[in-house]
């Protein structure tokens, strides 16, 4: 009983540790360095993250967990048509294709789409290499953040439940 339990612990600890370590922003990327901060990092239950800066600029992408689960990205569909327009929370703002899966990406908040990350068109693998940094998908202008968004702690809890 005890040996089995400890085996279970040994097995699960590194995974959780890794997840915890990797669901953070890349401090060298624009998603973090855009402003002097403070930068607010939030998550959704659809495995998106957002980094919200004091000037309202908000970067959105998919989490490290989602990018690992999907595998090698081959194509990113970006919302070119929506640049300059507003989107509502829950609207589809693109999709990520990897190993034959087309996975929809949803806007985590209401706001205006300011820019799409065109670097992903040439290098879709950025979503795997640096999902929470240079692999950002859209840049938005957002007012106050919704209370429904998940904190990092809540998101990790969600991953554990899944």
């Amino acid at each position: 009983m005890i040996s089995a339990l400890s085996r279970q612990l040994v097995k699960s600890t590194p995974r959780l540790f890794l997840r915890h370590q990797s669901n953070v922003l890349n401090p060298k990327s624009v998603v973090f360095t855009h402003s002097a901060g403070p930068v607010v990092l939030k998550f959704t239950d659809q495995h998106e993250w957002l980094s919200h800066h004091p000037d309202g600029t908000t970067f959105v992408g998919i989490t490290k967990y989602a990018s690992d689960a999907l595998g090698d990205t081959t194509y990113i569909e970006l919302p070119h048509d929506s640049v300059g327009g507003t989107v509502s929370k829950g609207d589809v703002i693109g999709s990520v294709e990897s190993v034959k899966s087309a996975s929809e990406v949803y806007s985590p908040v209401d706001g205006e789409i300011v820019e799409v990350n065109t670097a992903l068109e040439e290098n879709p693998e950025l979503v795997n290499k640096d999902p929470m940094g240079d692999g950002w998908i859209v840049k938005m202008k957002v007012g106050e953040l919704d209370g429904d968004l998940l904190s990092e702690e809540d998101y990790i809890k969600l991953l554990q439940e899944e």
Binding site: R15, A69, Y75, E77, S95, K100, S101, A102, S103
Partner: protein, 492 residues
Amino acid sequence: MIRIGTLSSRYLGYCRRLYSHTPFDEYLDFTPGGMALEEEQPVTVTHDPFDFSNLPIFKDKNDVFSSSSATPNRPLLGDTNLSMSPESVMQEPITMTTEDFMRKFNMPRSDQSFDKKKLERFSLFLRTDTQARQHNTSLQDIARITSPLMVVSEFNNPRLNLAIEKYIYDQMPDPLANARSRRLLLYKNTPCVVIGKNQNPFREINFREATIRGIPILRRYSGGGTVVHDLGNFNFSYMSSRQSFSRVEFTSALNNEINQFVGLDVGYDAPKFLLTTNDRGDIVNSSSLKKVSGSAYQISRGKSLHHGTMLLNSDLERLSALLKLTEERKASIQDKSTDSIPSPVENLGMSDVLFQFTAVEAFKKLHPTDGIEDMVYDNLVVQGDSHILKLNEVNDLPKEVLEIQHELSTWEWTIGKTPKFQLIVNDEEFQYQMTVEKGLITEVDSAEPNFKALIGLPFSSEKISHVLPDPLKSHVTWHVDSNTNYAQLGIS
């Protein structure tokens, strides 16, 4: 390593119990050598995620039997999801029945290894003409039920079937809030070419060949590469939750069902060989490794869809010319769209009825019902809380399905959704380069001034021929789409 076939009967007794369905609580009460357990009770055991062997291996039998780390959420490792990463294997609940286990290791089978009456009942349900009946259940009435639903479409129109698939997927209640919300759709199509969501048809399809034969071209909603369909190819769509998304959950269960019919005479053409799943989620012949079913996936809010194309008796040669492009053509189109990965393929040689039966049985094993006896309505079977709906009446389809079907036939969706690409032509006659975004020509680079007129026009020979003088016209229209007649491809 111990090969199960060589185990002593005592070990075999353990294995049988391990692979049978024993509820966890009862399992704990089990003492080796004690009372015999009834078969078909669930058991769950934590498996070693790094154990990829094809056969059950018990490094230490005490370890297996005293393990209290067994929980209902960490079931026994099946033998059909071996090509996955260690982490995903850990999350894959796969169980195996005693029968499956015996079969896997060529143990002698009793005649009751499957219920022949069940197959006959299913076959009768498929054959029954519902059109003469009075009370057909409509898709709309049943699409939002929160329990498992299977749909057999008897339509063979590729766009209609794709529209039905999208409708069922969109209507399926979110599995996050409805844990039993699952769907299976089965259908086959008349000849057509289907490209993945993010593909460039000009780089995948021989438009000349498709035009001459009048083969429709479709763009689907899921990812992956280009496939040709005909009536010898059965499609399945397994819709599940995003949480439990797995590239092999359904194919593993389906392989288990199909494999039990290999070499069996049940009155229908049996599968010719055993199947297994590869790491891309494709179903392959377990000995030749040739592909028998390709897979494509779609992940949306709370949901996931796994689409497969099972080659039963497809005329593979006849359609292969549709995907053959000249080297010159391939080199002239440059983009970042998703590539198709051509693989050698093989027909399973199984009958349609038997395939549909195995798919339905696989679905029911993944989402068991409480075994209440079948009730058969006009076009509906109810088993416990799971339903099988048969569709063959256009009047039973909601109008949304027909709207999606129309959407799928538009040039804007099929061609216009093509990721940005460039056509580069450099021959003795003319040299030019065109950039195409959302199906429209956005940039042209050429010494020839007439090209300016193309900017803003659709990348379609039908739409640009009037602005170009000959001989430039015939040169360009050929290089654009081989003078395709889009109406011939079912595109409007």
